[in-house]
C-alpha cells in the first residue's frame, strides 16, 4: 500500500500557509505517493496547484460541524499508511484538543501547545531566548497606557494566533484592540516592539525526538514581515541542545517554527512558537534539509529519496497557473464600513478562533487572573466624596487640592534628598503654568518652593499676581516677545526657541534673564520647537551667537516621555547631554544650566523618573564640567490626578450588544477624552459610595452633536441609569486647561 499524505492549509500569497511548501518537499522526496490537499476556501491559491493528486475544499470554518469533521478526518485516515500534516495553527489546536486520530495526525499533544502558547511561551524558559514584555489587552486602560509609554510608545497589538498590528498612538492602540477582539473573540495582547533582525528556526520531531532543524536569517521580507528570501544555517549547539531537551519534554510530534529577533546586543527574543512547519519550509529542503519528508519517513518507516543541497539561499517568485476551482467575481459596490481592516485570510482562522472559544473556553484566555479595574486611593475618594456631598451643578470640575499638594510635597522632598548628593548643583523644579493655571495650584507651587515656567506674557502676569518674583520665573515657549512685554526685572532664565530669538536676547533684550539658554530640537523627532541642531549651517550660527552670551548659559530640551516612551526618553537625555558637551568644546562656553522640561505621566514620573533622578544629574555633572543648575518643569505629573470632572447621565440607550449613555459633559470639558485613559467612577448619591467602572462593550457619549464627542469606549455601565453621577478622574492637567466653550450657549 502506498503512502497517502493529507496536507491542509494551502493558501499561497505573500502571507502564505505552509501547505504548498510541505507538499513540494514531500513530492521531491516521495515522487510516487499520493498527496491530498485540504483547504477551506477555493480562494486558497495553492489548492489550484498541480502538486496535489487531489484537493478537497471544505466549507468555511463557520459551516463545519466539528464533530462531523473529526469523523471525516478519521475516516480518511483509516488506511495504515495515511498521514495528515495540518499547517494552520488553530486547526492544529482543534485537532490536538479533539484528539483527532492522534497516531496519524502529525501534530504535538495539547499539553505541548499550551506550553508554547503566546504570549508567555512557557517552554522558552528552557531555551537561551527571552520573551518580549507583554500585557493582556483586557487589563484596565491605565495599565495598558503605562505599558505603552514604558515601551517606547511603539508596540504590537497581537491576535491570539496570528495577526499583529504595530501601533504608535494610544487611540490607534485602542481601535486595534477593538478590531482584533471583534475578529478573534478575545486573547488579544500587547507586546513591546523589539528592534533587531528577524531570524527563524524550523524543526521537525516525532514523539519527542528532534529529527532535524535549521536556522534561517530572513534576507527579504514582505510588508507584513513574512519571509520572501532566506539564508539557511545549521543551528548552533547552544540553541540546538536545549531545544532537543525541550522537544523531548513536550513529547513533540510534527513541524515547528520559532520566530525570534536578534538585537544589536546579540540577545534573542522569541516572538512566536508556531506548532507547524513554516511556509518557507521548502527553502530548507533546497538547502538539504527536507523536514516534512523526514517526519513522514520516521512516522511511516518508508525511506525517502535524499536530495543534495542545491543552495543555502532561497527566494520566492510569483507566477500564474490555471485555476481549478471557481471563484466568485467581486461585486461592484461603493459600500465600505469602518477604517480598521481585519485581514480576510482564506484560512478562516478568526472564525475558527471564535468557534473554539465556545468549545474550549480557555483557548483565548491569557491569564487566570480576572482583569480588575484599577484601585483608586482612599485619599482621593475621601476628598472627592466631601466635594460631591456639597452638591453643585454638573458638569463641573473638582480640584483635589490635598492630592495636588501631596504630589508637590513629594517632589520637594525628593529634590531635597537628591540635593544632598549634589551640594554643588542647584536642583530646582518650575511648575509649568500652562498645564493648569488655576490660582490654587500656583499658590501650592509657590508655597512648596517651586519656580514657575511661563510660555506667555499672560502667564508671567499671573505668576507675578500670585507672588512670584521675576527671578523665580523661567520664560519658555515659541512666543515670548509680545508687543507689551512685561518688564519685572530679570527673569531667572530664558530659553530661546530660535536663532532670531537668541539675536534679540543678545541685542535689544539684553539683560532679560540671569540665564540665557537654547532649546534644542532633537533630529529624531518631528518638532516645531527649538533650534535645529542637525543642520550644519544652523550650528555655525548658534556657535557664533553663543560665543557672545555674557550671562550663564543653558541648554533645554522638551520631549515628552508620553510621546517617545520612557526608556527612549532616558537615551535621548543622554544624547542631549553628550551634544551639550560637544557644544561646550566648540564654543568654549560652559553649559551652566540644563533644563529637561516635563511631559511625564504621573505614574511613570513616580516610578521611573524620580528613582533615576540621581543618575540623570550625575550623568550631566560628569559630562558638563560647568554644570551649576539642573532644572525640570513638571506639570502633568503633578496635577493630572488632582482634577475630576463630575457629570450626570441624561440619556440611556440600550442596544442588543451594548449600552450607550449620554452625559451632560463633553469633549469641550475633557478634550483629551480618548487620547489618554481616564479612570471613571460611578457615584451612588444615596450611599455616597463609589464604584470603579471596568472594561466592557459600552460607551459614554458627550452632549455635543459632534461625532467625535465620545468620552469613553469599552466600558461596562450596565447598572448606570438616567440621573446618575459619573466622575472622570485624572483631568487635572490639559483636560482642564485646554477645555473650551463649545455647546454652552
Amino acid at each position: 500500500m502506498s503512502l497517502k499524505v493529507y496536507v491542509s492549509g494551502l493558501h499561497s500569497d505573500p502571507n502564505p500557509s505552509s501547505g504548498v511548501g510541505v507538499a513540494r518537499s514531500l513530492r521531491l522526496a516521495y515522487p510516487g505517493i499520493k498527496i491530498i490537499g485540504i483547504d477551506y476556501s477555493p480562494r486558497s491559491s495553492g489548492s489550484h496547484s498541480d502538486l496535489f493528486d487531489e484537493v478537497i475544499i471544505m466549507d468555511s470554518w463557520n459551516n463545519i460541524d466539528l464533530e462531523v469533521y473529526k469523523l471525516q478526518v478519521e475516516r480518511l485516515l483509516t488506511d495504515a499508511r495515511s498521514y495528515w500534516i495540518p499547517t494552520l495553527d488553530l486547526e492544529v489546536w482543534w485537532m490536538a484538543s479533539a484528539r483527532v486520530n492522534s497516531e496519524r495526525v502529525l501534530i504535538p499533544p495539547i499539553s505541548a501547545l499550551e506550553q508554547t502558547r503566546k504570549p508567555k511561551i512557557e517552554a522558552a524558559k528552557h531555551l537561551p531566548l527571552l520573551v518580549p514584555p507583554y500585557i493582556d489587552a483586557s487589563r484596565p486602560d491605565e495599565d495598558l497606557y503605562e505599558f505603552f509609554i514604558n515601551h517606547g510608545c511603539d508596540v504590537w497589538v497581537k491576535g491570539p494566533y496570528y495577526e499583529a498590528r504595530r501601533v504608535r498612538t494610544w487611540s490607534r492602540l485602542k481601535s486595534e484592540i477593538r478590531a482584533l477582539s471583534e475578529a478573534w473573540g478575545g486573547g488579544i495582547y500587547i507586546q513591546a516592539h523589539i528592534r533587531g533582525r528577524e531570524e527563524l528556526l524550523a524543526y521537525t520531531a516525532y514523539k519527542g525526538e528532534l529529527l532535524d532543524a535549521v536556522h534561517v536569517v530572513k534576507l527579504i521580507t514582505t510588508r507584513e514581515g513574512k519571509t520572501w528570501s532566506g539564508r539557511v544555517y545549521e543551528p548552533s549547539e547552544e540553541l540546538l541542545e536545549p531545544l532537543r531537551h525541550v522537544i523531548k519534554q513536550l513529547n513533540w510530534t510534527g513541524g515547528g517554527e520559532l520566530e525570534f529577533i536578534r538585537t544589536s546586543k546579540d540577545e534573542l527574543y522569541l516572538i512566536e512558537w508556531n506548532p507547524r512547519f513554516p511556509a518557507w519550509i521548502h527553502g530548507a529542503t533546497i538547502a538539504g534539509h527536507n523536514m516534512p519528508a523526514t517526519l513522514v519517513e520516521v512516522a511511516s518507516g518508508v525511506p525517502y529519496e535524499r536530495t543534495p543541497q542545491v543552495s543555502r539561499d532561497f527566494i520566492r517568485v510569483v507566477y500564474e497557473i490555471p485555476s481549478k476551482f471557481y471563484i466568485n467575481e467581486p461585486l461592484i459596490s461603493s459600500f465600505t464600513i469602518g477604517d480598521v481592516e481585519v485581514s480576510k485570510h482564506p484560512s478562516g482562522m478568526p472564525t475558527l478562533s471564535r468557534r473554539l472559544k465556545k468549545t474550549i473556553p480557555w483557548i483565548l484566555r491569557l491569564s487566570d487572573v480576572e482583569s480588575r479595574p484599577s484601585l483608586i486611593s482612599e485619599d482621593v475618594l475621601e476628598e472627592l466624596r466631601r466635594s460631591l456631598n456639597t452638591g453643585g451643578e454638573t458638569p463641573r470640575y473638582i480640584l483635589l487640592e490635598n492630592v495636588i499638594e501631596k504630589r508637590f510635597e513629594k517632589l520637594t522632598s525628593v529634590l531635597h534628598e537628591v540635593a544632598r548628593e549634589f551640594p554643588w548643583i542647584k536642583i530646582k523644579a518650575a511648575y509649568s503654568i500652562k498645564t493648569n493655571p488655576d490660582e490654587r495650584i500656583l499658590r501650592i507651587a509657590r508655597s512648596k518652593g517651586f519656580m514657575a515656567e511661563a510660555i506667555s506674557q499672560l502667564e508671567v502676569e499671573k505668576a507675578l499676581k500670585y507672588g512670584y518674583r521675576c527671578r523665580e520665573i523661567i520664560l519658555n515657549g515659541p512666543g515670548k516677545f509680545w508687543p507689551k512685554l512685561r518688564i519685572c526685572g530679570e527673569f531667572h532664565a530664558i530659553f530661546v526657541d530660535s536663532l532670531s530669538e537668541l539675536n534679540r536676547v543678545l541685542g535689544d533684550r539684553k539683560g532679560i534673564a540671569e540665564v540665557v539658554g537654547v532649546r534644542v530640537r532633537h533630529p529624531l523627532f518631528e518638532q516645531r520647537f527649538g533650534v535645529d541642531i542637525s543642520s550644519f549651517s544652523e550650528l555655525v550660527k548658534i556657535i557664533e551667537l553663543v560665543k557672545s552670551v555674557d550671562t550663564r548659559f543653558g541648554v533645554h530640551f522638551h520631549i515628552p516621555s508620553i510621546v517617545v516612551g520612557v526608556e527612549r526618553w532616558f537615551k535621548i537625555y543622554k544624547s542631549i547631554v553628550k551634544y551639550a558637551r560637544l557644544l561646550e568644546s566648540i564654543t568654549g562656553k560652559r553649559v551652566n544650566v540644563l533644563d529637561i522640561g516635563g511631559g511625564w505621566s504621573p505614574k511613570s514620573f513616580d516610578t521611573k523618573f524620580l528613582p533615576r533622578l540621581n543618575e540623570l544629574i550625575s550623568y550631566a555633572y560628569d559630562n558638563l564640567g560647568g554644570l551649576e543648575e539642573f532644572l525640570m518643569e513638571p506639570g502633568r505629573a503633578l496635577v493630572e490626578p488632582g482634577g475630576c470632572l463630575i457629570t450626570r447621565v441624561i440619556d440611556v440607550r440600550n442596544y442588543s450588544q451594548h449600552k450607550d449613555v449620554v452625559v451632560d459633559a463633553s469633549i469641550a470639558e475633557m478634550p483629551l477624552a480618548l487620547m489618554k485613559p481616564h479612570a471613571i467612577l460611578y457615584f451612588n448619591e444615596e450611599t455616597s459610595e463609589f464604584h470603579v467602572i471596568g472594561r466592557g462593550r459600552d460607551r459614554i457619549l458627550g452632549r455635543l452633536c459632534m461625532e467625535e464627542d465620545i468620552l469613553a469606549v469599552d466600558v461596562s455601565i450596565s447598572n448606570v441609569k438616567e440621573g446618575d453621577v459619573l466622575v472622570f478622574l485624572n483631568v487635572g492637567a490639559y483636560d482642564m486647561s485646554m477645555s473650551y466653550r463649545f455647546g454652552r450657549g
Partner: protein, 199 residues
C-alpha cells in the same frame, strides 16, 4: 592572473583621509558629525554601524583632496570618504577601526555606469580597471584580533565568503599597525598591510 594585474593597477591607491584646513571650521564640521551621531545613534551598541550616514549621504563621486568643511556640505560621498567619516565616528565612540581596501569584480554593464557618473563630474576614473573596481570599507576591530567588515555603500557587514550584491570580492588589504599581525575575519586570517586574493 587577471586579479594580480588588477592589484598592480589599483592596489597602490592609499586609504582615504579627510583633511583639515587647520581652522575652526574644519574642526566644527568634524565635531558636528560626531555630535549628530550622539543624537541619532541613541542607546546603540557602539559596534553597530552609524547607519544614519548612509541616509544622509548618497553614494557618488568625491573630489580629492577632501576637507571636513566640505564633507558636511556634500550631498554625496564615495566609498572612501564614507568609510573615513565612519571611522571617525567609531573613534569618537571608542571603537577601534582600520581602513579596509577591496578590489571587487563586477560585470562590465555595471561598471560602465560608474565610469559615466565620474566622468560627468569631470573626475578621474583611476579606481576602475576592466572588470575590477577599487572599494573602501571599514574594519571594525572586536576583541582579540577579531574583525568585522562594514560596507557603508551596501550598508551591510561583508561576509568572508566574498559575496557582495552584484559582484564579489577579488582581493582585500587591511592597513594599519596592530598588536595582532593577523586579523580573524569570520573563517579567514588576514595579514595586515598586504593584498590577499580571495578569488
Amino acid at each position: 592572473m587577471e586579479v594580480e594585474e588588477a592589484i598592480k593597477v589599483l592596489g597602490s591607491i592609499p586609504p582615504t583621509q579627510i583633511l583639515s584646513h587647520g581652522d575652526e571650521m574644519c574642526e566644527v564640521a568634524r565635531k558636528y558629525l560626531i555630535g549628530l551621531d550622539s543624537l541619532l545613534a541613541i542607546g546603540n551598541n557602539p559596534i553597530e554601524p552609524p547607519v544614519w550616514i548612509t541616509i544622509k549621504y548618497k553614494w557618488g563621486p568625491t573630489r580629492y583632496p577632501v576637507y571636513w568643511c566640505q564633507i558636511v556640505k556634500a550631498e554625496e560621498l564615495d566609498c572612501g570618504s564614507l568609510s573615513a567619516v565612519i571611522r571617525e565616528i567609531y573613534r569618537s565612540r571608542g571603537v577601534h577601526t582600520l581602513p579596509v581596501q577591496l578590489i571587487l569584480k563586477y560585470p562590465v554593464h555595471i561598471i560602465e555606469h560608474y565610469i559615466a557618473m565620474w566622468r560627468r563630474k569631470g573626475l578621474p576614473v583611476n579606481w576602475i580597471w576592466g572588470n575590477y573596481v577599487y572599494h573602501e570599507v571599514v574594519g571594525v576591530i572586536l576583541d582579540e584580533c577579531e574583525m568585522k567588515i562594514y560596507d557603508p555603500v551596501e550598508n551591510s557587514w561583508i561576509k568572508s565568503s566574498g559575496h557582495v550584491e552584484r559582484g564579489r570580492v577579488a582581493a582585500i588589504r587591511i592597513s594599519g599597525e596592530e598588536t595582532c599581525s593577523y586579523l580573524h575575519w569570520e573563517n579567514k586570517y588576514i595579514e595586515l598591510n598586504k593584498w590577499h586574493i580571495l578569488e
